[in-house]
């Protein structure tokens, strides 16, 4: 039986790539050290597949069609928004696992949109680059994209339910994969609005506290109004955290690192999620 053996939440900040000097050496070392620590944990967990939960940034899906949630069921390629040092390329895909989750979803009330040859953006490619590739194990991924950047936003409660569904679907997959789940997103950050560059450590710490306590009620109590006010439009990405928390059955976890990095316009938080038995 396949099972989820670990989980993580981490940022996918593109500014790290196109403006590395925006952060101090200390901030940069802390963030890259956190990514390296998570890659090491993925190795220790002997993961042989990963489900990376990202979100579109109005790069992949346009006004013609805005899916609430998408899963890869075939090849994966990205990032379409190439960055210095992170060029577009094929990413090894676990197509069978994605297909299985989608099929279970259709039978249980989750009408997945599927990407049979899915392009992803930096929200999947950055954690792949900094957490999966350094394991040296060529771990295949399933890419999940939630509507976090473009309205209509996926409701937080639906992101949670989707995580629970992913956990259940994994358990019925006919394989022995050890799977890690990665919720990919920044905490406080403003993208393109007049508050761009503002970071809110109080909000960031509140979110990390909720994540590491596995507090479902507190996570679902975060309204969009509160997130937009205190964390900014970019913080809507914490829906990926909710999904990852639910997929690991909200057993809590530990903060690996946190730094408010105004020069990278983001509250950079990193946590490992425990997995409930």
């Amino acid at each position: 039986m396949a099972r989820i053996v670990g989980g993580f939440v981490a940022p996918h900040n593109p500014v790290m790539y196109f403006n590395p000097q925006g952060a101090s050496q200390e901030e940069s070392d802390l963030c890259y050290g956190a990514y390296a620590a998570m890659a090491e944990r993925i190795k220790e967990l002997e993961a042989d597949a990963a489900i990376v939960i990202g979100c579109d940034h109005y790069i992949l899906f346009g006004t013609e069609c805005l899916p609430p949630y998408v899963i890869s069921t075939g090849e994966i390629e990205g990032p379409v928004d190439q960055l210095p040092g992170l060029k577009r390329k094929p990413l090894k895909s676990h197509a069978a696992l994605g297909e299985h989750i989608a099929r279970v979803g259709w039978e249980t009330g989750f009408d997945w949109t599927v990407g049979r040859a899915l392009n992803v953006d930096h929200s999947v490619a950055v954690p792949h680059h900094l957490m999966i590739e350094p394991t040296g194990k060529d771990i295949p991924i399933v890419a999940v994209m939630l509507a976090c950047g473009v309205d209509p936003y996926l409701p937080m409660s639906r992101a949670w339910a989707l995580g629970e569904h992913i956990a259940a679907a994994v358990e019925s997959f006919p394989g022995n994969e050890r799977i890690v789940v990665i919720g990919s997103g920044g905490i406080s950050h403003h993208v393109g609005d007049e508050r761009m560059g503002e970071v809110n450590p109080d909000f960031d710490r509140k979110v990390l506290d909720i994540v590491t306590r596995g507090d479902k009620a507190a996570m679902l109590a975060l309204t969009d109004e509160e997130i937009l006010r205190d964390g900014g439009n970019g913080a809507m990405e914490i829906r990926t955290y909710a999904c990852a928390m639910a997929a690991t059955k909200a057993a809590g976890g530990r903060t690996i690192a946190y730094a408010p990095v105004p020069g990278w316009v983001t509250g950079m938080g990193f946590a490992e999620l425990e997995v409930a038995a």
């Binding site: 109005y58 790069i59 346009g62 006004t63 950047g149 393109g192 609005d193 761009m196 560059g197 439009n233």
Partner: protein
Amino acid sequence: MSRNTLEKVLYDLSTSGANKKMFAAEPEKFLGRYQLSEAEKALVLDYRVRELADLGVNTMLTWGFWLQAGKSNRDYLKIMKREEA
């Protein structure tokens, strides 16, 4: 005003090099493909990103639209903060 079509224009410009070239070469002709009023076309032609955002256009798009034209991030922020750029 329709933020939907305004977003479609900005999305098309941010995701297609061919569209960017066409817009740079013949902006009026490029915008003629879309269901936009003259007032809406002017917002795009004049890069009035603050007003576009005030209409509800996603700021990921307004920011990308501004930067793809080679304009500075500093000026963008001044405009978004309603300061003189």
